[in-house]
Amino acid sequence: MIDIQLKDTPLSTTECSDLVASPSTGGTVLFVGTVRDHTKGKAVVRLEFEAYAPMAVSEMRKIAEEAKSRWSADKIVIHHRVGVLAIGEIAVIIAVATPHRVAAFEACQYAIDTLKETVPIWKKEIFEDGEVWVAAHP
């Protein structure tokens, strides 16, 4: 089972955990990414996430499929938020259930590492005195 969602409403850790839990697997590993209040010492007021939606979904699905086949994962959920987020809100949740616990940790780490490299989603940090697209400049 793979469940990919790109949504502009709050994400739920319990929902993602429940989606991958099954009576036949013994453990789930989740990564929950939240919005930080500072970048390089500068206070962030809020964030905006923008996505090239159809490709963001298809790239997240690609990641889930790769993780599923490489680590024999039973179920993988990737939910990503878009729109305006306040400090502390959840931007992304990845949940992975595998027959063996070690594989779930590896697959989840692979998924978040790859998501940050390939999925067309952009984060804009808004400060008191301006705003910046993260990662745009070297």
């Binding site: 490709m55 992304v92 998501l115 999925v119 067309p120 989603i121 697209w133 745009a136 070297p138």
Partner: protein
């Protein structure tokens, strides 16, 4: 040929809009498009990197473009 290009993130700021038209030679490739973008909007040179997606997938420089393709500029991503 005339193509429509979508822009996201900082690319939207550089081209000053979410989409724009560009004239390209017939049988232009992704590589040709990138050169043209950099000469029309020199700010693209200042990005850490940028990629081109055609019809919802990343494409290499030798990929040939067609007039009806959905072409998207993908500046450095920062999801997660």
């Amino acid at each position: 040929m005339n193509v429509e290009i979508l822009a996201f993130g900082i690319a939207k700021d550089i081209v000053k809009g979410a989409s724009f038209q560009l004239d390209l030679p017939a049988e232009a490739t992704v590589g040709v498009l990138k050169q043209q973008l950099c000469s029309t909007y020199p700010d693209f040179e200042r990005l850490a990197s940028f990629a081109i997606a055609v019809n919802e997938a990343y494409r290499q420089d030798d990929f040939a473009l067609n007039e009806k393709d959905e072409i998207v500029i993908i500046p450095p991503v920062s999801g997660g």
